[in-house]
């Protein structure tokens, strides 16, 4: 991906002026657009979505003086156009690859026989993080995953019934607990330099 330029202060000022005549409002819009671009790259499966978002903003800023305001094109559409190009370039340079089923990424621990097969560090972090959850949440997450494929539907229906929840509400609850666990595990692994 080409990045043979540096954004100058006047380019950035021009970008903000293009976003809004009110500098404060322009700052808020800029922040929102940047966050939106980060989301876009992140959910397109890119690594380092922050850098790609900044790259997109830089390109827009460099071209902002050439935009024809009479065409009444939405601001977001301009950003999206540039973001799409950045994404295509990213895809070409990194080369999306199909992950081999034999690769490390596809050795799901679902096939392992005992906890000994698991990565000890991750397992320890998972245990520690589970122990920080309130008991009901801990029990829920374990029960939610307790069954194999053939029994999952029945198991989760039973769980939802026990908790007096509809199934989507159960999934949301589990999803939120998983996010807490995920952040905790990442912090734990980082703490252990893993």
């Amino acid at each position: 991906m080409k990045k043979d330029y540096a954004l100058k202060q006047e380019d950035f000022d021009a970008l903000l002026a293009w976003l809004s005549a009110n500098r404060e409002e322009a700052g808020v819009l800029y922040e929102n657009i940047r966050k939106g671009l980060i989301r876009f790259f992140r959910f397109r499966g890119c690594n380092d979505s922050h850098t790609l978002a900044d790259e997109t903003i830089n390109r827009v800023a460099l071209k902002v003086s050439t935009f024809d305001s009479s065409k009444n094109v939405k601001t977001i559409t301009y950003f999206y156009g540039f973001a799409s190009n950045v994404f295509l370039e990213y895809s070409r340079t990194t080369g999306k690859r199909e992950v081999s089923l034999e690769s490390e990424d596809f050795q799901p621990w679902q096939n392992s026989k005992t906890p000994d097969d698991l990565s000890n560090a991750e397992c320890d972090c998972l245990e520690n993080c589970l122990s920080t959850l309130p008991p009901k949440e801990r029990a829920l997450i374990v029960d939610y995953y307790a069954k194999d494929k053939s029994e999952i539907f029945e198991q989760r229906s039973k769980l939802a019934e026990e908790l007096n929840l509809k199934k989507p509400a159960l999934h949301t609850k589990v999803f939120r607990i998983k996010n807490v666990l995920r952040n905790c595990i990442e912090a734990c692994l980082a703490k252990n330099n893993l």
């Binding site: 929102n32 657009i33 939106g36 671009l37 989301r39 876009f40 992140r42 959910f43 499966g45 890119c46 690594n47 977001i76 559409t77 950003f79 999206y80 973001a83 799409s84 999306k96 690859r97 199909e98 992950v99 089923l101 990424d105 596809f106 799901p108 621990w109 679902q110 005992t114 906890p115 698991l118 990565s119 991750e122 397992c123 998972l126 245990e127 589970l130 122990s131 008991p135 801990r138 029990a139 997450i141 374990v142 029960d143 939610y144 995953y145 307790a146 069954k147 494929k149 999952i152 039973k158 026990e162 989507p168 999934h171 949301t172 999803f175 998983k178 996010n179 666990l181 995920r182 990442e186």
Partner: protein, 280 residues
């Protein structure tokens, strides 16, 4: 029928797989950039897609797209590892505890037991907890047994003795009852005076049907539909008019009120003989 939310999630999954038409994909791209509130739903869809892959509920072409277009960022790979880890861990915990039983109530019990185990997770702690719970349960059982049936056990011993010689029992307050009446077998109303009872009462219960030599009986003393005293393994005795049960019951539970004694053969508990009396 799917809710709007489920349709959204399903659409987002297809989006992340790269399985939508360009126009649909572009519409979602723009939504993602402009609508911050979508982030949680997208994360949810992302997480569900990983679960779907691990559950093998994706079609073969979706499985391929998952590998080709979805599992490409280091963040997703890390998340995928964590979900796999969590699932495997939960299944190992679940396997450590019994789970399948036939009837509904025990199932609930095991369900709760498993939840309890899931709080501890480490097998050694779980095993220790199991031992402690078992000992506690046994202790409670004996404590309850001792307290609920201490008197019953004492009277059971008494009732196992040979009561065929009525002459030996003549000093003991005796109540003769016939099944289904409020009168005793001598024709007088069976209303007992508490102050005359002593510490125990001998009940002679006329059997309305013939008993076989091997028959034993269970007797329950009932007040206000609650069983207040039980005796089992009771033998019957012959008398000039037929057969009867003889048993001692403690006087202490006999307070003012109406009582029933229900007797049944231990081999045919559906045939119950009821004897009524009152304490005045």
């Amino acid at each position: 029928m799917q809710s709007n939310e489920e349709i959204n999630i399903s659409n987002f999954k297809q989006y992340m797989l790269g399985n939508l038409a360009p126009a649909e994909s572009e519409a979602i791209d723009l939504q993602i950039i402009s609508d911050e509130s979508l982030e949680e739903k997208l994360m949810w869809a992302e997480s569900e897609l990983m679960e779907d892959y691990l559950d093998e509920t994706l079609s073969p072409s979706e499985m391929e797209l998952f590998r080709k277009n979805f599992l490409i960022s280091s963040e997703r790979k890390a998340q995928f590892r964590q979900i796999s880890l969590m699932r495997n861990y939960a299944r190992n915990v679940a396997k450590a505890v019994p789970e399948k039983v036939s009837s509904k109530e025990p199932e609930k019990f095991f369900w709760k037991l498993r939840k309890f185990f899931s709080l501890n997770l480490k097998p050694r702690i779980a095993m220790f907890a199991l031992v402690v719970i078992s000992l506690f349960a046994v202790g409670i059982f004996y404590y309850m047994a001792d307290n609920q049936t201490a008197s019953e056990m004492a009277f059971a011993e008494l009732n196992q003795k040979d009561l065929s010689n009525l002459a030996e029992l003549e000093n003991i307050f005796t109540v003769n009852l016939m099944s289904g009446t409020f009168r005793d077998s001598s024709g007088t109303e069976s209303k007992l005076q508490p102050d005359k009872l002593g510490d125990k009462v001998l009940f002679r219960l006329a059997l309305p049907v013939a008993a076989a030599a091997s028959d034993t009986f269970k007797v329950e003393l009932v007040k206000d539909r609650k069983v207040v005293f039980t005796q089992t393994n009771l033998r019957f005795y012959s008398n000039p008019n037929g057969q009867e049960l003889r048993l001692f019951l403690p006087a202490s539970p006999l307070k003012k009120g109406e009582y029933q004694i229900k007797a049944a053969k231990e081999t045919a508990k559906d045939s119950i003989f009821t004897y009524n009396f009152a304490v005045g």
